[in-house]
């Protein structure tokens, strides 16, 4: 019986002791927080003064007079606001004070959130040893979110390993993150061929192949139009849809034939993207297949087709009005709804 009493006493004593410790810790943190806010204000003032007088020694003295964590934290935010020569000078001052070494340590020893942030800071500070630390983290870090952040940072400092290797290090699970879209969009033009090669690979994760096509379409432009035209027929709907979106941006001599074929695809995403691409490219010759899509079983496809017809101007609107005036059907309802879209009369 006594063990029940003992257990009760232990539980209550433990609870109250822990809370007491946490309350004391919080009081200390409150005091430290006030001091850190002051130091942060002091450093930001010094950084602003530096942009006016370019006195690097004064800035370094200010950086060294506050705790490194405050300097790194406030500095990173400030650096992200600067451009050009000012940016380079502030970064140089941070490097001369040895702050990137501390960030590199945070990349090794911090918790997950801190390690992701450390990767971003290392990219911003561009120190000599940043690449070594980042490559080591890409190899060893146990968190895929951190490895993706490190890959993005490496891309920013121009030291990302060949894409195939980088993706292998990120791991298969990480290859479904939308952060990879961010990584691909940061690729320098001279490495676009790597993205194209990856997008071609049938054994790669469709999500990453589609992301590579989207990135090429945004930055690569017409030089990849032939590749997009071929990829529009890819067996993976995700890849085919991305290629159609890309074609909608770049255009292609065979675009009408490719889009007509895609409008008959079994996947509604592909059909909708084909209709959207026809709209973007202003291919009014595709009115007939678009009219057929007004009867599609998927609302998204019907809506995209009707929108495409409407985007063709008067000829498209005339077709829609004729269908809207015809007997009741799915096409008729879609056409009526699209024509009515907008402020009520």
């Amino acid at each position: 019986m006594w063990y029940i009493w003992d257990l009760s006493i232990v539980l209550s004593a433990l609870s109250l002791t822990i809370m007491l410790v946490l309350i004391v810790r919080r009081v200390l943190q409150e005091r430290r927080g006030v001091a850190e806010a002051d130091q942060r204000r002091f450093l930001l003032t010094a950084l602003i003064a530096f942009t006016e007088n370019r006195d690097r020694e004064a800035l370094k003295a200010a950086l060294l007079s506050v705790p490194a964590s405050v300097a790194i934290d406030a500095g990173f935010e400030f650096i992200s606001l600067l451009r050009g020569e000012e940016h380079e000078d502030v970064v140089a001052a941070f490097n001369e004070c040895g702050l990137p070494t501390l960030v590199a340590r945070q990349l090794e020893r911090g918790n997950g959130a801190e390690r992701v942030h450390a990767a971003e800071m290392l990219a911003a500070l561009r120190s000599e040893n940043a690449v070594v630390s980042l490559l080591s983290a890409l190899d060893r870090d146990r968190s895929r979110e951190v490895r993706i952040a490190v890959a993005i940072a490496l891309c920013d400092v121009g030291a990302l390993p060949p894409l195939g290797i980088a993706l292998r290090k990120i791991g298969v699970a990480g290859q479904r993150s939308r952060r990879l879209i961010e990584l691909f969009r940061r690729f320098p033009p001279k490495r676009f061929e790597e993205l194209e090669d990856h997008a071609r690979r049938q054994d790669a994760v469709p999500f990453t192949r589609a992301a590579a096509i989207d990135a090429l379409a945004r930055s690569g432009g017409f030089r990849f139009a032939d590749f997009f035209a071929r990829a529009a027929g890819d067996p993976s709907p995700e890849v085919a849809a991305a290629a159609l979106r890309a074609l909608g941006l770049t255009g292609h001599a065979n675009a009408p034939a490719i889009l007509v074929q895609a409008m008959g695809n079994g996947d509604w995403d592909v059909r909708a993207d084909a209709a959207n691409a026809a709209s973007r490219l202003g291919l009014s010759d595709l009115a007939a297949p678009l009219v057929r899509l007004l009867d599609d079983e998927a609302w998204t496809v019907r809506y995209a087709a009707a929108n495409a017809l409407r985007s063709f101007g008067q000829p498209g609107e005339r077709i829609l009005r004729e269908i809207a005036a015809s007997e009741v059907s799915r096409s008729q309802r879609t056409a009526s709804l699209i024509l009515a879209e907008g402020p009520a009369a």
Partner: protein
């Protein structure tokens, strides 16, 4: 002659063991939650600053539609919509669904945002009461108002789901306030794992006592009233401990209807929100689990603690009682509606752990606890239970309750620290102790009342009187 005393002792022993068994099961559940929640928080520490999130995720954040059902919300709705329109997220729209309000909800919106009637084609994917009109605002492209006939919260949400175009939607109550970065934080799992993530819940916190201005919580304070303070500790326990733990093992059975983000396609595939349901939020999550398990698709339903939605807690016993009995009826309704999933190997850990948890905590828990409060003293009076055991067990019950509450405060303090002052923490510690003496029993009494109402088929929601968050503290 028949020995009645022996039969009474036997019955008392059986009942006692039922009460002790249910208590031990609940204890085990709480302990398990605590350990898993602590592990989850250590594995995924929160990102402190929202500026970093924007920098990191701004370009790849998927579009989100905020669905805001509003019924007689004229007090709060305009301010709530203003705060939603000011959210820090790159691509979102706000769809307010006026569910046939009898007050001036629609007119307040028309006046505040100069709304005009608008035609917007949409798919009739889900059935709902007729829509009387759609409105848009010349002041902002992000706002749409759906005016429809009254059909209840789930019906309104289904109408909003039909009208919205984004691949993700966020449900939020018309009287709640989202923190500016809440959407960005809630979208994170959809960015990190877009194929598998189908729903994400965030934390609901109590705004009573805080300073609210222009639809934002400007200064966090604890409520001045004891009843609301009890609920602060209760919410911490529910969100930081329970949901975090269940989310970690992918058996989260509830994403709060006050703030949750869902993938539209999957919600439409399960038929949207169940109309007339008392617990439409729990019902939807269970349907999603069933749908994904039946289709043998990999999926995640997650809870992340950092995105915060502020809400007004009831400050009177009568309103709180109505809320709690309704929640209890909702849990029971879902449990019995989907009872075939309980311990069904087809549904894996959802059937065993998720439904097992509802069985222990929501179905049996309140009954066993109230029985314990009534029968244990009765047994002692009848001389069946010795005084020593009565005192020892009572003491253990209360100290364990205190320990669980304190541990949820520890999780909050160790990782999130949303209460700004040390004295808040001290006050919450005191509240975590005293809530076990009176409030906890009252809560269980309301839950048993909810059981009774459920058995009698009572389907009423009850009136929720609100003072409005702006009236909380100026």
């Amino acid at each position: 002659m028949f020995d009645w005393s022996r039969e009474v002792v036997l019955a008392a022993t059986v009942l006692s063991w039922f009460i002790i068994g249910a208590g031990l099961a609940q204890t085990a559940v709480y302990l398990l939650q605590l350990i898993i929640a602590a592990y989850a928080l250590s594995k995924r520490p929160p990102v402190a600053r929202s500026a970093l999130l924007w920098h990191r995720y701004g370009d790849v954040a998927p579009p989100i539609a905020l669905l805001v059902p509003a019924y007689n919300e004229e007090v709060n709705v305009v301010e709530s919509v203003h705060s939603m329109l000011a959210l820090e997220y790159p691509n979102f729209e706000v769809i307010v669904i006026n569910d046939g309000s009898k007050d001036q909800t629609l007119q307040s919106l028309i006046d505040a945002f100069r709304l005009v009637k608008f035609h917007r084609p949409y798919e009739e994917a889900l059935a709902h009461k007729p829509i009387r009109g759609l409105y848009s605002s010349p002041m902002t492209e992000r706002l749409f108002v759906v005016d429809k006939e009254n059909g209840g919260k789930a019906d309104a949400q289904n109408a909003g789901l039909n009208v919205c175009r984004a691949p993700l939607f966020c449900v939020i109550d018309g009287d709640s306030i989202l923190e500016p970065d809440a959407l960005m934080r809630a979208a994170q799992p959809f960015i990190d794992d877009p194929e598998r993530t189908i729903a994400v819940g965030g934390t609901i916190r109590i705004a009573n006592g805080s300073r609210v201005e222009a639809g934002r919580v400007r200064e966090i304070h604890l409520p001045g009233r004891l009843l609301a303070l009890f609920q602060v500790v209760e919410y911490l326990r529910a969100f930081l401990m329970a949901r975090l733990a269940w989310s970690r093992i992918n058996t989260l059975m509830l994403v709060s209807g006050a703030f949750g983000v869902f993938r539209r396609a999957e919600v439409v595939a399960v038929g949207g929100f169940t109309k007339g349901s008392m617990g439409e939020d729990m019902d939807l999550v269970i349907k999603l689990h069933r749908h994904m398990r039946d289709a043998q698709r990999k999926y995640r339903i997650q809870f992340i603690p950092e995105p915060v939605c502020w809400t007004e807690a009831p400050e009177t016993l009568s309103v709180l009682a109505r809320q709690r009995t309704r929640w209890q009826r909702g849990a029971l309704e879902c449990f019995f509606r989907y009872r075939s999933m309980l311990f069904n190997p087809r549904y894996g850990r959802v059937g065993f752990l998720g439904f097992g948890h509802i069985l222990v905590v929501d179905v049996l828990g309140p009954v066993a606890e109230v029985l314990g409060y009534v029968l244990i003293p009765a047994f002692w009076l009848l001389g069946i239970l010795s005084t020593e055991y009565l005192l020892a067990f009572t003491s253990l019950t209360f100290t364990y309750g205190v320990c669980v509450s304190v541990c949820s405060l520890v999780l909050e303090e160790a990782e999130l620290q949303r209460f700004p002052r040390a004295r808040d923490l001290a006050l919450l510690t005191v509240v975590a102790v005293i809530e076990n003496f009176g409030y906890r029993q009252l809560n269980n009494f309301w839950r048993v009342k909810g059981w009774w109402q459920y058995l009698r088929g009572n389907q009423g929601w009850g009136e929720m009187t609100r003072t409005g968050l702006t009236g909380v503290k100026k």
